[in-house]
């Protein structure tokens, strides 16, 4: 893995391996340390007069208070395919319905739906149940309530959070 890290940081890793190596970096603290050390070496060689103490631990500490992001993007299709394959078992029950739904969706969207499904998975900082009151208060004045009727209240009673904690929490724990 160390050799792959070395090639990755130089932008010289084979495209097919990038996702796997990055997944490994995500999981493995020691691998991230190798990444950090190799970059330190590069910086020492380039700018030996400007080496200062490591800030990444401090930044990481401050990042604990930051929510995980959720931005859906159009690229990295290969990456999402792979995630989907890995997570297919976990979401087996969902797949049937989603497959059904994708038939109902217009052609320009249908092929992406399954991948979309997977791509959204790791990014969730879900709204906490204790914030439901804000959602409820908001929902009553939202035009979506007029157009969508009572069904739009499903957002305020959705139970997703209780059932499956956000994945990033789990990885946080593993890292400790």
């Amino acid at each position: 893995m160390k050799q792959e890290i070395s090639a990755l940081m130089d932008g010289e890793l084979f495209d097919d391996d990038v996702g796997m190596v990055m997944d490994h970096l995500k999981r493995d603290h020691a691998t991230r340390m190798n990444w950090a050390t190799y970059h330190l070496i590069g910086d020492v060689l380039r700018q030996p007069d400007h080496i200062h103490s490591d800030l990444s631990a401090k930044v990481h500490e401050r990042m604990r208070d930051e929510p995980a992001l959720l931005v859906s993007r159009g690229h990295a299709v290969k990456q999402k395919m792979r995630t989907f394959a890995l997570s297919a078992v976990a979401s087996l029950s969902a797949v049937g319905v989603v497959a059904w739904m994708s038939l109902q969706i217009s052609p320009e969207i249908a092929p992406q739906l399954a991948m979309q499904q997977a791509a959204m998975r790791p990014a969730s900082m879900q709204i906490q149940p204790k914030s439901d009151n804000y959602l409820m208060a908001h929902q009553e004045f939202s035009p979506s309530t007029d157009v969508n009727g009572g069904a739009s209240y499903i957002r305020t009673v959705s139970y997703g959070i209780d059932d499956s904690p956000p994945k990033n929490n789990q990885t946080e724990k593993q890292a400790k």
């Binding site: 997570s87 029950s93 969902a94 319905v97 969207i109 208060a137 009553e140 969508n148 009673v157």
Partner: protein
């Protein structure tokens, strides 16, 4: 389905333009759907999907003599029920009905205010995409595409006969689905199954047995708190500013609501109670994004069915402009 007759006339007028590609007429469908959503009797099962979550729920909606009764019930996961009656909302909490919220006024025939309609036309492009079948019914498909990236695309499937919304998808960047829900099974009009509790039972509940909590007192006072948001996306007009009670809060909370006709953004302002659990930052559920931040001893909460960066942009621009 007594309302079917006048509605059909309205829809015929709209349907005449069905095959044209891009017409302002698309916006009329919103009013049709809003009208039908209140007036139509229906019962059915729908699925709601966001991210990797799929949930199934049943819904019954009855309008008797202009009084609306509605029950939403989850069919999977922990049992949850929500009852709406004339703009008030109750939920079952350990077998006891608790009133959650009360919409100001009865709001029987909500239609778009003129300024909302002009905001809609200025900020979205409506496209009629033809007719598709949903849950066995024909539906007109309409796409509302925003002209900037500060709001989501809304795709609606509206029943061509009754005007009822059969399916809705919220799309983000590159037409990716942020959330969607769709009826998988639907009964309309006279065929509605009333066995779930019946209109009479609900009416009784409304009059007597429903516990009314202080939070749900009607008609929250309007206020002018002096709080403003400078960076609202174009077309988001202020709908109201109220001082309201909120469950779990000691004092009243200021709520300011802005809407562009399709989506709304609420700003909540309350004294910061230093609750560690109110995590600063962004969280999401389907198309709804929520952002908490503390500003000068106040907890500011932004909620809206707009993209995360829009909620954050609004949050960053909130300031006190009072005396």
């Amino acid at each position: 389905m007594r309302l079917c007759v006048p509605l059909c006339g309205l829809l015929l007028a709209v349907s005449a333009n069905l095959h044209a590609e891009e017409l302002p007429v698309g916006f009329d469908w919103l009013e049709v759907a809003a009208f039908a959503g209140h007036q139509t009797d229906y019962s059915g099962v729908f699925v709601y999907q966001f991210g990797n979550q799929v949930e199934t729920s049943s819904i019954v909606h009855i309008n008797d003599a202009d009084r609306e009764y509605e029950k939403l019930e989850s069919l999977d996961g922990p049992k949850r029920e929500l009852i709406r009656h004339d703009g008030q909302v109750w939920s079952y909490d350990h077998d006891k009905l608790v009133q959650l919220d009360s919409r100001q006024g009865s709001n029987q025939f909500p239609s778009l205010l003129p300024e909302q309609l002009s905001a809609l036309k200025a900020n979205y492009q409506a496209k009629l995409l033809g007719v598709e079948r949903v849950a066995g019914y024909n539906a007109q498909v309409i796409l509302f595409q925003p002209k900037d990236n500060l709001r989501y695309t809304h795709k609606l499937w509206i029943h061509t006969d009754t005007g009822l919304l059969l399916k809705a998808a919220v799309l983000g960047e590159r037409n990716r689905i942020v959330e969607q829900y769709a009826f998988t099974q639907l009964q309309l009009g006279g065929k509605v199954d009333r066995s779930w509790g019946g209109t009479c039972d609900l009416a009784d509940m409304h009059g007597k047995t429903l516990a009314t909590t202080p939070e749900a007192a009607k008609n929250y006072p309007s206020t002018n708190s002096g709080w403003v948001a400078d960076a609202l996306p174009a077309g988001f007009n202020k709908i109201m500013e109220i001082l309201r009670p909120m469950p779990g809060k000691h004092g009243p909370v200021t709520q300011i609501v802005y809407s562009d006709g399709l989506s709304a953004i609420s700003i909540f302002i309350e004294p910061d109670d230093h609750d560690e659990d109110d995590v600063d930052g962004l969280s999401s559920r389907g198309a709804v994004n929520l952002y908490h931040k503390v500003l000068d001893q106040y907890l500011i909460t932004i909620v809206g069915e707009v993209p995360p960066h829009t909620v954050m942009q609004v949050a960053d621009s909130v300031r006190y402009n009072g005396k």
